[in-house]
């Protein structure tokens, strides 16, 4: 009897399957609409979502940098399973390379400095990873944490890098002023197009951070495409094997050390890119922007979202960066509430907000096995 119920029970379609079942043109249109919505978000000024106390464009830019960082860190923590507590070091290296090359000691344009920043961050990832990736997981955590602090303290103590005062006058990304985009005004309860409050398309200025958000969004899309390609390739499978059982992977002929190093340096490169983006928007960087706490927030974003699931870590990054900004009315209690939220999330979603597909597969397999062993649990 119990087996018959198992067979007749219709498999519940979850959201993902339903979306996957849609015809292709519909999917393309939906994705395009979603993309347009994301780009228009800072101009829509939707009540409740929009932050009242701080510029919404700026907040969205911050959220976008966190998303970028989380995607990079996800390669290291989620795919390769290496706990990196010093990710802020690469973020700082990216920002400082841009600062040094475009303001402090040379005057390269921002666009030229960014690729150099990415490469330098990547090389620093290799330099840190090559000796330390041989130590086991938990040791790696403290070594990387130490690395993050070494980077920050070097910035503080090196006069060549501006010392504690940092680097100012970093040039902004090049822009063109094409047309004005109006925003919506909700003050009467219904949306009205507000022609007085406009954003110039691609003018990277000082007062209006919306174009920076657009730039960040474009970069996120590029990184996502790269992420999907790498994850589905041989490299992605090698990471998964290494993460699950390093010795077994090694026995199967996976050069685990080389793949771990690759993950580490790719993650570092994306961290450097985010740092470069941050430097271009802020125009000013100092060691204070790269506290150890930031590394911990980055890790929190990845783990809270669900390490290994790229949509999950994006959500995690949004949780970690957006909520403290949105709930500024809690003012002093922000960090406390954030800490509570982390604990609650950890207890109620131990696999993260969106666990990676593998975790769900394993769970289902476990359930099936249990059914085989003990029969269906009778209610």
């Amino acid at each position: 009897m119990s087996t018959s119920t198992a067979q007749t029970r219709k498999p519940r379609l979850d959201f993902k399957d339903r979306v996957a079942g849609l015809p292709k043109p519909v999917k393309i249109v939906l994705w395009a609409l979603f993309a347009v919505f994301l780009f228009a978000l800072p101009l829509l000024n939707i009540p409740f979502i929009t932050t009242e106390d701080s510029d919404f464009g700026g907040v969205l830019f911050t959220v976008a940098t966190y998303v970028l960082v989380a995607l990079g860190l996800n390669i290291v923590v989620g795919y390769a399973g290496l706990l990196d507590l010093g990710y802020v070091g690469f973020y700082a290296i990216g920002a400082y390379v841009v600062g040094v090359l475009s303001s402090a000691h040379a005057s390269l344009p921002w666009l030229v400095a960014v690729p150099i920043a990415i490469v330098v961050a990547m090389i620093s990832g290799v330099i840190l990873g090559a000796p330390t990736l041989r130590v086991r997981g938990d040791y790696l955590a403290i070594v990387t944490l130490g690395f993050g602090e070494i980077v920050r303290l070097t910035l503080v103590n090196s006069q060549w890098l501006g010392g504690a005062r940092g680097i100012t006058d970093i040039p902004r990304p090049p822009g063109i002023e094409l047309f004005e985009v109006p925003s919506l005004d909700w003050s009467n309860g219904t949306p009205v197009v507000d022609l007085d409050n406009t954003t110039t398309f691609l003018k990277f200025g000082i007062g209006d951070f919306v174009p920076y958000y657009w730039l960040a969004l474009v970069i996120i899309v590029l990184v996502l495409v790269f992420d999907i390609l790498v994850k589905n390739s041989r490299v992605g499978r090698a990471w998964e094997a290494t993460r699950e059982d390093e010795d077994a992977a090694e026995l199967m002929g996976v050069p685990t050390f080389r793949f771990k190093l690759l993950a580490f340096s790719l993650g570092a490169a994306i961290g450097g890119l985010s740092g470069a983006l941050f430097a271009g928007k802020a125009g000013f960087i100092s060691p204070d922007s790269f506290q150890l706490l930031l590394s911990i927030l980055f890790i929190a974003a990845v783990v809270v979202g669900g390490a290994g699931n790229r949509v999950g870590v994006i959500l995690g990054a949004i949780v970690v960066s957006y909520f403290p900004e949105r709930f500024r009315e809690f003012a002093d209690f922000r960090v406390l509430v954030f800490g509570l939220a982390l604990m609650v999330l950890a207890i109620f979603r131990p696999q993260g907000i969106l666990p990676p597909g593998r975790t769900r597969r394993v769970k289902r397999a476990d359930e099936r096995e249990q059914v085989l062993e003990e029969g269906l649990p009778d209610a």
Partner: protein
């Protein structure tokens, strides 16, 4: 370099004193790691709460610099009692609230790190906001001395005046230095005996070695874990008293950098290894002091982290190797 040679004795003694504090905090990390295989990120706040309890108890008792010997002994004893009780309590609460629910759900180890980070934020912010929290209860006037300026440094009223006791190569070793170093080593010896001889210590070692086999042999795992947190917390409380006597101030975020240092010390000596924590603490304290004498104080922390990286390269499991269970089974 000349500075190092001239001040060698002074650097050694201060290095040992601060190293003793690192070692005592490191014990908490090592203990929990040995039993649960996870980094108790909230342990730094355990230390911080102990330090506040110690300061407050001296304030309540009206401790001052002109106390008689008997009074000073009483004050210091009360500092230990208050700090150890508070730290032990906080550690057990952390285990109950942040770790046990996860263990019950078989959560992946990484998520325990997040819940610990959350607990750490909550604890340190609660201390940093104590003035506002007291105001909710209308107690901010009554408790003014204890809660005002809650984001600032809180000094310990001076109760022991540092006095030179004997001269070591030109450095007056003070009574505080001796008390801190000797006291910390004594605590370590007591703990070492507790772990290797008592019934509970045997339980801790058993769980560290093989949790499942220990459970099959009738060891109550939950109880052992609770005791582990309690002992780690009590040691952090003692560390807080030594730290206050040596440094003299505390604040709501004092735990963070000290915690990172102590964890470094634990890893340096071989995490999960009690004697390793002691050795790691002293090595770290000394290296920091010598290093900053050679390359400048501002590079102090860089020296300690570089030392850690170099040691891990050559001894991947720390100076004395890991495992609470295997060390002296």
């Amino acid at each position: 370099m000349q500075f190092l040679i001239d001040n060698f004795a002074a650097l050694t003694i201060t290095g040992l004193a601060i190293g003793a504090v690192y070692a005592l905090i490191a014990l908490g990390y090592t203990f929990v790691y040995g039993v649960l295989r996870l980094i108790n990120f909230a342990h730094s706040e355990v230390f911080m709460y102990g330090s506040f309890a110690a300061v407050w108890v001296v304030m309540i008792l009206g401790g001052n610099v002109s106390g008689s010997t008997g009074q000073v002994i009483f004050w210091v004893a009360m500092m230990f009692v208050a700090a150890m009780l508070m730290s032990g309590f906080v550690a057990v609460v952390i285990e109950r609230v942040a770790y046990r629910p996860l263990r019950k759900r078989n959560a992946p180890p990484l998520i325990a790190l997040i819940s610990a980070i959350g607990a750490s934020f909550v604890l340190s912010e609660a201390m940093g906001l104590r003035e506002k929290i007291a105001r909710w209860f209308g107690l901010d006037d009554t408790l003014r001395d204890y809660v005002s300026n809650s984001r600032n440094n809180v000094p310990l009223p001076t109760i022991i005046k540092p006095q030179g006791v004997f001269n070591l190569f030109g450095y007056e070793v003070t009574n505080v230095d001796i008390f801190v170093i000797v006291g910390a080593i004594a605590m370590m010896i007591v703990l070492d005996q507790f772990v290797s001889r008592s019934r509970l210590g045997r339980g801790i070692r058993a769980v560290a070695m093989d949790p499942e086999a220990a459970a099959l042999m009738g060891v109550n795992r939950d109880r052992v874990i609770r005791v582990t947190f309690l002992v780690g917390g009590v040691m952090a409380g003692a560390a807080a008293v030594f730290y206050l006597l040596k440094i003299g101030i505390t604040r709501y975020d004092v735990g963070f950098i000290l915690g990172v240092k102590a964890f470094t010390a634990a890893v340096l000596g071989g995490i999960g290894n009690l004697r390793g924590a002691l050795l790691g603490g002293f090595v770290l304290g000394l290296a920091e002091n010598y290093g900053s004498a050679i390359v400048g104080t501002q590079w102090k922390d860089v020296v300690s982290f570089l030392l850690l990286i170099v040691i891990l390269l050559f001894r991947p499991t720390g100076l004395l190797g890991e495992s609470l269970g295997k060390a002296r089974a």
